[in-house]
């Protein structure tokens, strides 16, 4: 009878805590993403907006600066809900472009190179994998939306006084929630497309086309059928409707929407929920350690 000497010993050391294990994905993704000078430049450009908005807030409260620039307070954009809504919309738009550039490669690369089993054969669940991939975008978009948005809000509160903070708390909540609606929809859509379309270019095109095509379709459906259904088909009008609801505004962007085209806010939230559910369903179908090759 053969006797084998057991020299092999499995790893018995400490592991990183389970809750934070998904962070390994963004950590490595950022190394890769920021290697591109073009992307790094674009990301830096995303902070020009917050800077300009901060200067505008500052000017509102600095008479000397206004005098130097020969401006009056009424010449400046008022600091109100619309001001912050415009800020989040601009930053959300930049977040969209950022997603078009980096989002499509997130899962497609793993699928194309059969990398998924390498993740999933470790103590790393499918949910952790998807959250890890989404967090790449979540962290980046957060850093250009609600984080500077709330800082601007606090800056304005500091300059205006505590009363302003209390009276306008809804704006802070709206900044935070709207940013997260943007983040969730962008991250979910791009991760889902990335999981279903292996080719990076096709995935980028699908994400970009999804916004543009649904926008054109939505407007035409509204025009043709004199309805608001098109407003929830168009992702950009849908986001605007949610934004108006959160900030307590109505057709704030003056898109010349006729009365019949303005979708009720509940319908926009419902459509948002449906999109998220559909994305999650598609993700559970595709993110698996094996693939059926036809």
């Amino acid at each position: 009878m053969a006797v084998y000497e057991h020299t092999y010993k499995p790893y018995a050391g400490k592991l990183t805590p389970e809750w934070s294990r998904f962070l390994i994905i963004p950590r490595h993704a950022y190394k890769d993403i920021f290697r591109s000078k073009l992307f790094t430049g674009f990301f830096a450009l995303c902070f020009v907006g917050p800077l300009i908005f901060a200067i505008m807030i500052y000017l509102h409260h600095n008479i000397n600066a206004l005098l130097m620039l020969e401006l009056r307070v009424r010449d400046l954009v008022p600091i109100n809900a619309e001001f912050f809504q415009i800020f989040i919309s601009i930053q959300g738009g930049l977040g969209f472009l950022l997603t078009v550039i980096i989002g499509p490669t997130l899962i497609s690369r793993d699928l194309a190179n059969n990398g998924l089993p390498l993740y999933l054969c470790r103590p790393f669940s499918r949910a952790e994998y998807v959250i890890g991939k989404m967090s790449v975008l979540m962290i980046l978009i957060s850093s250009i939306t609600w984080v500077p948005g709330l800082l601007l809000f606090l800056f304005q509160s500091y300059l205006e006084g505590a009363g302003w903070f209390g009276n306008n708390l809804r704006i802070a909540v709206a900044i935070f929630l709207l940013s997260w609606v943007w983040i969730i929809i962008l991250a979910l859509l791009s991760v889902t497309i990335s999981a279903w379309v292996k080719w990076r270019m096709a995935a980028s095109a699908a994400l970009f086309g999804l916004f543009m095509i649904t926008n054109a379709m939505g407007i035409i459906i509204n025009e043709l059928f004199r309805t608001w259904i098109g407003s929830i088909i168009s992702l950009s009008i849908l986001m605007q409707t949610i934004s108006d609801g959160l900030f307590g505004l109505r057709d704030s962007f003056d898109m010349d929407l006729n009365e019949y085209m303005i979708a009720p806010v509940w319908s926009a939230w419902m459509a948002f929920g449906l999109i998220c559910a559909l994305c999650l369903f598609l993700l559970t179908r595709k993110v698996r350690a094996y693939e059926v090759v036809r």
Partner: protein
């Protein structure tokens, strides 16, 4: 190994250009590519895109046919808007981007471009064959889509208004114009996206820039307007569409200038593509 097959290629020996060989090669490339364009899995998106305007117009004919027939004048303007805003700027633009950027970049991703590069085909012949296959596919699908949309538009107009508009009015001329504009759009956008697919590893960023350029065309000064496809296509539109209060107005280019202009631009772009492909190397890694 004997070279009996060489007999077919004796035309190489003569000074004349081997046109018949090139035609045969283009036909062979067309057969392969058209099959791929229509039957490949990537074609599904194009079918959906081409079907969208037809379905929209069909739904309109089914639900709002009566109203349309009562206000046929307004309906004609609505169709013109749908044609420019949806069919031309969205369906044909994105469809052509997909089809033509796939011609070379798709093959690099599939790692199958070397089969063409290992055949005794002039690279210019390969570009021409591939471009024609994309053109055939896009014209079939998107001109078909325009025809389908027009069909349901006429259906919604109702029989009497319909025959009046078509045969006694401008309807027939308008329809021919819309179909011709679609064909020209495929020719122009096709050439642009073919070259984008050849030059860039990730052609999406230039495609987005082109989309932005075409989108803000109404804001551009007249000289810059002319460096775009949509300017020439708009000039040919049978029903002029206002560009909004912020637009910088430029004289539309007459058809006798815009059609050859577009064709010249296309030829130029194809020449650039041919020059580029002669320098192209096969490097599949990293795609």
């Amino acid at each position: 190994m004997s070279s009996s097959a060489d007999a077919q290629f004796v035309e190489h020996a003569s000074d004349k250009l081997p046109w018949s060989l090139w035609m045969r090669q283009i036909a062979a490339i067309l057969r392969l590519e058209v099959k791929k364009n229509f039957l490949g899995r990537r074609a599904i998106l194009i079918y959906l895109l081409a079907l969208a305007p037809v379905l929209l117009m069909a739904a309109m004919a089914a639900t709002a046919g009566g109203e349309i027939s009562r206000h046929s004048g307004l309906a004609i303007i609505i169709f013109a808007n749908i044609f420019e805003g949806f069919i031309l700027r969205t369906v044909v633009f994105f469809g052509c981007a997909w089809i033509f950027m796939n011609l070379f970049r798709g093959e690099v991703v599939d790692k199958s471009l070397h089969y063409y590069f290992l055949a005794p085909v002039r690279r210019e012949v390969l570009v021409t064959g591939k471009y024609l296959s994309g053109l055939l596919t896009s014209i079939f699908l998107f001109a078909g889509s325009t025809v389908g949309a027009l069909f349901f538009f006429y259906l919604a107009l109702g029989q009497s208004a319909n025959s009046n508009y078509t045969f006694n009015g401008l309807g027939l001329g308008h329809s021919v114009s819309y179909i011709s504009i679609t064909v020209l759009a495929c020719v122009g956008y096709g050439a642009v996206f073919l070259v984008v697919g050849l030059f860039f590893r990730n052609p999406m960023i230039p495609a987005i820039i082109i989309y932005g350029w075409e989108f803000i065309n109404f804001l551009l000064p007249p000289v810059l307007k002319k460096i775009s496809i949509i300017h020439y296509l708009r000039s040919l539109s049978p029903v002029p569409i206002p560009e909004g209060p912020y637009a910088l107005i430029a004289e539309p280019t007459p058809a006798w200038l815009s059609v050859p202009g577009l064709l010249i631009l296309t030829s130029l772009v194809i020449v650039i593509a041919s020059l580029q492909i002669r320098r192209m190397e096969i490097k599949y890694g990293g795609e």
